[in-house]
Symmetry: C2
Subunit: 208 residues, 2 copies
């Protein structure tokens, strides 16, 4: 989902546009909650950027769908695709509504922290320390989500923030990971990140 | 989130109502995609039920918020809460839009399967076999999400379907789990479920 991986909207197929929209819809709400949780304008403006990107994708998809519909069959399939696109777009606007709350001072929105702490899925920040096996490995090599159940929503490294990082991103000591998942999974990841327990590498996992 | 755990709407605090809405918003979209993927009317009607429940929660919350606002401070906080509630509600309607596609015959919506297969997060079904360590254990004891990264969206056992199962639900041989997560996590879970590899139980995990 990183920008550099994405071809021009013009060159993308309807299916590719739709997949991109679904991927954004899956990360944008988490990112919105995380921005409130960490009172981060940087994250909130990424949410707004993704919201704009979603609009562009929706527009590009409509144009493509109209051009592609030749038969009644086509039209039926394409109208289904537009329905999914509209759902993804709705979700991104929901995320936009959530980040609007950043204008309320943090002490006036304690319910956000409570909300996230009481939800089935928690959001937390974990710092990778020098002694952790995670340091120096890519997200793919570690298989962070498969091994801990925690999805990395965003990370902060020495270069700045990365949102919804790709699998080939390398984790380094000192990086802060904003993750989402169960409480147990979060504790497990915190143990790995602090170096308290060694990472269990999958034998079949490759670095690429 | 299972119904029997929920007190009457009247007895719930604004924060509890909000948490319930957030939890529903997190599972309803996955469930909507899963219903299309498995062409399941049963799952789709659960989505519609959750959508209705969301409406009731939103209504109950508005009434409570209006009664609770005494000062300007209160009003400010409560208006923030209503903003989050509105975001959760939007998401549930997005899920409703997705399941409407069930009226299109499966052969006319191949893009759904492609979409889910090409997304960062996949949805798949896994059957638990007789020889699996998973059989006879609760979701909590196994720590399914923390150990495999896969979230159980729904499961089908001998009694029928369970949606967003609670942690104390026991998994039995023959159960079908509909799960969401990365491809690697799904493969790992399939290995456990088939009994090909033994489950790695956490020492500290308890059965309750």
């Amino acid at each position: 989902m990183a920008d550099e991986d994405r071809p021009d909207l013009e060159d993308m197929t309807v299916q590719e546009l739709l997949t991109e929209m679904k991927d954004i819809s899956e990360v944008i709400v988490d990112l919105a909650y995380a921005s409130l949780m960490y009172n981060s304008r940087a994250m909130a403006s990424k949410v707004n950027e993704l919201e704009d990107e979603m609009e562009e994708l929706k527009y590009a998809m409509r144009v493509k769908a109209l051009l592609a519909a030749r038969t009644k069959e086509d039209a039926r399939e394409l109208s289904g695709i537009l329905q999914i696109a509209s759902a993804a777009d709705r979700i991104s606007h929901a995320a936009g509504e959530i980040v609007d709350l950043l204008d309320v001072p943090p002490e006036k929105r304690p319910f956000i922290t409570n909300l996230i702490n009481e939800s089935d899925e928690k959001i937390r920040m974990v710092r990778v320390s020098q002694g952790s096996d995670m340091a120096g490995n890519t997200i793919a090599k570690l298989g962070v989500e498969a091994n801990t159940g925690m999805k990395i929503i965003a990370m902060k490294n020495r270069y700045g923030w990365i949102y919804d990082p790709d699998d080939d991103v390398k984790i380094r000591a000192g990086d802060d990971l904003i993750v989402r998942g169960t409480e147990d999974g979060g504790n497990r990841l915190a143990d790995f990140a602090s170096g308290r327990i060694p990472w269990e590498f999958d034998e079949e996992a490759s670095d690429e």
